[in-house]
């Protein structure tokens, strides 16, 4: 259970989230839809612990703990995972080295046994096969020279390897053509289970055709302004966000 209450967040002195309330139920797929500039990415960065964002008021409780008090790596160990909208390129850091260090860091913090090179490779190959990720990706530097689709698939691979309990997908559909989108969505769907909560953040309904949400929230001007079932996504697609932003539809 994740409970966000009255969350106020600013960056560079500008307030982006203005009293956001949101409760996420375990095992459910929640979607957040909202126009550009409504605070979608800010919410995902704050949940992952990015230091550029300052929380000025409010709380985030994750499985009874205060998430905002934790370092990013502590959140990861407790099962929080952010699939980045723009995965960061890290020249010189080999994917396999990064991924194994990450998996073992998280396993260590969870009091699980670390994976040796062989066990890691076996697991990675298995997950990569399921996601249709080329095996040479492990030898490449993290995200360097990868296409948009490869980067997003790489995010899902990391998610599969780290087995989070709370996964935030920040505009995972952006920059993807329909084939790449299907593959990524299929990867996410394989990870759905009753213990894993998803927060799928998107501008368009398109992604939600492939990752079917249980609950849909509308984020506008830094607040959740409406919550409903999957039909809400279709309504937004048809009518736009104008009703929530106070602007005239184009």
């Amino acid at each position: 259970m994740i409970r966000i209450e009255n969350l106020h967040v600013e960056i560079d002195g500008k307030e982006i989230l203005k009293g956001l309330d949101l409760t996420l139920e375990p095992g459910k797929v929640h979607a957040i839809m909202g126009p550009n500039g409504s605070g979608k990415s800010t919410l995902s960065y704050v949940l992952a612990g990015h230091e550029s964002y300052t929380v000025t008021a409010g709380s985030v409780s994750y499985e009874g703990k205060n998430l905002l008090d934790m370092e990013p790596e502590e959140r990861a160990a407790l099962g929080v995972f952010l699939a980045f909208q723009y995965p960061v390129e890290i020249p010189g850091v080999q994917m396999s080295n990064f991924l194994r260090t990450a998996v073992n860091a998280v396993r260590r913090l969870r009091d699980e046994q670390e994976l040796d090179a062989l066990a890691f490779l076996k697991l990675a190959r298995e997950k990569m096969k399921a996601l249709g990720v080329q095996e040479d990706m492990l030898k490449r530097p993290v995200n360097v020279g990868a296409s948009g689709g490869e980067k997003k698939r790489n995010e899902v691979l990391q998610m599969a390897m780290l087995e989070p309990r709370f996964a935030v997908l920040d505009e995972t559909d952006s920059g993807l053509d329909i084939d790449a989108l299907k593959i990524v969505a299929e990867g996410v769907n394989q990870l759905r289970n009753p213990e894993r909560t998803f927060l799928v953040i998107t501008h368009y309904q398109r992604l939600l055709d492939y990752i079917r949400p249980d609950i849909v929230h509308v984020l506008a001007q830094g607040r959740i302004v409406k919550t409903g079932g999957p039909e809400l996504a279709q309504q937004l697609e048809a009518e736009g966000y104008a009703a929530f932003t106070g602007e005239q539809a184009a």
Binding site: H50, I90, T101
Partner: protein, 399 residues
């Protein structure tokens, strides 16, 4: 109003030295040594007014080392060059020991070179005949002990098409002063891989001059890991005398505490179609200071020169400093030369990305620092050196 005259040399520092050869030293060496000492004594040590010593004030450093006034002389210890010692008596060796490097007139900062010649007790000679390809690298250990003045002279000559790898390993205990000269002559089409692992004691003063002459199509691949010494300076100059010669100076600085490390390089293109590159990655922590002065000189005949210089520094603390001075001096019109320098901190976005995947801040920083120097490590041709550098880096990070 009169300003005090700023001197480029400090003749008074010559009083710290005395020419005292052993009785049984080879006469030619005694003669060469005396001439070199006289040249040195006339000028003394360079001051920071001398352009290439701008960032490294040797006189100030030496004051810290010397109890007043400490006199250095040729220490009577074996091995040394005696009458009848075959290798070092060869005419070409004598010539090289006696001579200054080809471009000494241009800079005139040969004080330390002369001081080395004046104090030589031992000439180490590596001579590889034409067409000989030496498979395994030769490792040369240069030790250091407290209170010593260490004027080693290493001479490496490769005949045409010969190939060799040499590892200079500098290590020691206590406070000592190394004033090392390595002289390299490469014949046509020869290739030398020259690795320097500078792990001198934290109290040591490390000075080295390396001078390389390259004939046509010869290749020099130099690499230095600077990790040791409290004050270090490596001045390396390659003169590309024949067409299509190639020089690469690569280096990694791992600096901490109050270490000072100066890397002063020059590739002097005197023939057409040669290539040179200089690549230095520095990781500077605490109050340490790194210096990079890189120069590419292109003579008017050296058309189709390709020269490249890059210094990247990562500052890990607020007190850390990096001074860079890339320089181009070009007299030919059909050349491709580039230089660049960056100094910065670890990027916050990759750090956050790694931490969001469960890596601790320290693990994430180490991974990014390894990646930063990785490009230079990856270029190391010798696997044993690559392993050594990787291990040293890991140890440095975990200190």
């Amino acid at each position: 109003m009169r300003f005090p005259k700023k001197k480029r040399y400090l003749p008074e520092t010559a009083d710290m030295f005395r020419y005292a050869p052993r009785d049984d030293i080879a006469p030619w060496l005694a003669t060469a040594g005396k001439a070199a000492f006289d040249r040195f004594a006339a000028v003394g040590l360079p001051s920071s007014r001398l352009e290439r010593w701008k960032f490294s004030n040797i006189a100030t450093i030496l004051k810290k080392y010397s109890a007043d006034p400490l006199v250095y002389d040729a220490v009577s210890s074996d091995p040394h060059v005696r009458q009848g010692q075959a290798d070092a008596q060869e005419a070409w060796v004598r010539e090289l020991v006696d001579a200054l490097p080809p471009n000494h007139e241009k800079y005139g900062d040969m004080a330390l070179w002369d001081l080395n010649t004046a104090s030589i007790q031992d000439v180490m000679v590596v001579d590889i005949p034409e067409d000989m390809i030496v498979k395994d690298p030769i490792r040369l250990d240069f030790a250091g002990k407290d209170g010593a003045f260490l004027p080693a002279r290493l001479i490496i000559r490769l005949g045409a098409r010969a190939q060799l790898a040499v590892i200079e390993h500098h290590e020691g205990q206590g406070a000592y002063w190394r004033n090392h000269v390595t002289r390299i002559v490469l014949g046509e089409g020869a290739r030398l891989d020259h690795y320097r692992i500078q792990n001198d004691s934290p109290a040591a003063l490390h000075l080295q001059m390396t001078a390389i002459d390259l004939a046509a199509r010869a290749a020099y691949h130099g690499f230095t890991l600077t990790e040791g010494a409290s004050f270090a300076r490596h001045q390396a100059e390659a003169v590309l005398q024949g067409a299509q010669a190639h020089v690469a100076f690569n280096g990694i600085n791992l600096l901490k505490d109050r270490q000072h490390s100066d890397t002063t390089l020059e590739a002097e293109h005197r023939a057409p179609s040669c290539t040179s590159s200089q690549l230095l990655r520095s990781v500077v922590d605490d109050q340490a200071r790194g210096v990079f002065q890189g120069k590419v000189y292109v003579d008017r005949v050296a058309q189709k020169t390709d020269g490249y210089q890059l210094s990247n520094a990562l500052l890990l603390s607020e007190g850390a400093e990096m001074d860079t001075k890339p320089e181009l001096e070009i007299y030919a019109d059909d050349v491709k030369c580039s230089h660049g320098a960056t100094t910065g901190q670890l990027d916050s976005e990759p750090l956050f990305y790694l931490r969001s995947r469960g890596l601790s801040e320290q693990e994430a920083r180490h991974l990014l620092i390894e990646a930063f120097v990785g490009e230079v490590v990856d270029q190391l041709a010798d696997e044993s050196v690559k392993t050594l550098v990787t291990e040293r880096l890991a140890r440095w990070l975990k200190r």
